[in-house]
Amino acid sequence: MAKPAAAPGSTGPETPPDDSLYVSRKLFVRSTSGYFANWRWILVWFTQILYYGLPWLTWNDRQAVLLHLTERKFYIFGWVFWPQDVFYLAILLIISAYALFFFTAIAGRLWCGYACPQTVYTEIFMWLEEKIEGDHNKRRKLDAAPMDGRKFRLRATKYAVWGLVALWTGFTFVAYFSPLEELLQSARSLSFGPWETFWILFYGAFTFAFAGVMREQVCLYMCPYARFQGVMFDPDTLVITYDESRGEPRGTRKKGVDPASVGKGDCIDCGICVQVCPTGIDIRKGLQYECIGCAACVDACDQVMDKMNYPRGLIRYSTENALKKKWGKKDILTHIARPRTLIYGGLLALICLAMVYGLATRSDLRVDIIRDRATLAREVADGAIENVYRLQVINMVEHPRDISLSVSGLDGIRIDGEHVVTLPAATTETVTVQVRVPSDAASPGSHDIFFEVGVTDAGDTTVVRERTTFILPR
């Protein structure tokens, strides 16, 4: 069995035993407070209000965000997307990728440290754990203690509370794909469909396992992004850095002692930076692939520096170049604009503009023309030649519309029968159309003709013109 590869230059985790997911040791992470912890909590609140809240919003008398799998329509606020709109999904994925490149080039693993669901749910689950079982020391003791009434009660409470959060998360997940109103009705009578039940439990179990049990193991061994993020870093990328020249030689000393007077650096070797690290690494060994950039060690070290009356920032966001060349904040900031970030940023802006343009100019009436496969052409009673077409018309707005059909491109061309059709709101209608042309209108063979589908409602001038071919037999 291959060992998980550590990034080049890193010391890597302790070698994992082959048969265990749990590699080095169980972590009892000490909680932090401070500037970056606040930012992480702001992101937890922001992302989770969004995630848990969105399915409850209504828009146009329906769920505002609903990726309706059974109807094969995605409702997103004012828009309705059809499978034909997969183009926008592709653009959205490209935007996400470039945003990731861009932010990583500027300040490392911002996504991982602050916004990744894995980080966010781990944060929530650890907060609950601390409320129930106590701080990291108490948790370590409890873990080592033999099972008794108290331990059983604490563990049971923790798993029950985690379970509730996980179930709610699973329920919310399903509510993005299946209308919330129907789900709530099923919930009242506890009669979910078999697949709904399955997916609620499946997603809930994943949340529970990832955020409660596996935690940093997911980042270390399962996340593909952690493995290639290194290629987006350069010497001007802001990363969590231990200032070795300032900190070393590390060692203990009494409070308020001038480090120079005892021949030591600023690091008092308290080890708190290691205790707060969610992946259990020692940032003082340098940049490692395990570091998710959460900045917990920055907050922790700053508090220690405050107590010692030393300047803050022994561990801080800095760049390789800044450390080497003793740059200040201003130099670091001016180096954010560099070819790599400008190219990523420029492309990102361009693609975003293309997306906005595409959405703004998106036609809300779409016509696909399919020639009838059974007969290419036939002669009808009055000597005219008839071709049959199936028009698939998609009404993309959420109210019914009347459309009229017309055809042009050959002398005497006309539609036989009904010209006006009513399209229900947000649906695809198939209209079969017989087109007739006098047999002497053109030479035998295939000729381009044009369908014009126009909305006839007042104040709506949408017209779609589509090309197809008309076949005259020999």
Binding site: M1, V86, L89, W195, P224
Partner: protein, 77 residues
């Protein structure tokens, strides 16, 4: 345990992508099963589709792991 994660996890990720691509392009109601139109509900078809993809991808991961054992490991048997 690590072996199972290496088989099940990458295949899970790829199955997710395959699922989205496949069912974006193909409507479950256009599928035929042994000559008969598929009559499951769409949610059921999507779900079965996902696990089908997962199974196929896991088989591929399993084969990769099986073939990447070194000579040392093979000779030991």
């Amino acid at each position: 345990m690590l072996k199972w994660i290496l088989i099940l996890w990458p295949s899970f990720l790829v199955a997710g992508i395959a699922e989205v691509l496949f069912f974006t392009i193909i409507d479950p109601q256009e599928l035929y099963l042994l000559g008969e139109p598929v009559e499951f509900s769409k949610i059921a078809t999507y779900s079965i589709g996902f696990f089908g993809f997962w199974l196929v991808c896991a088989a591929s991961s399993l084969t990769t792991l099986f073939l990447q054992r070194g000579p040392e490991e093979l000779n030991r048997r």
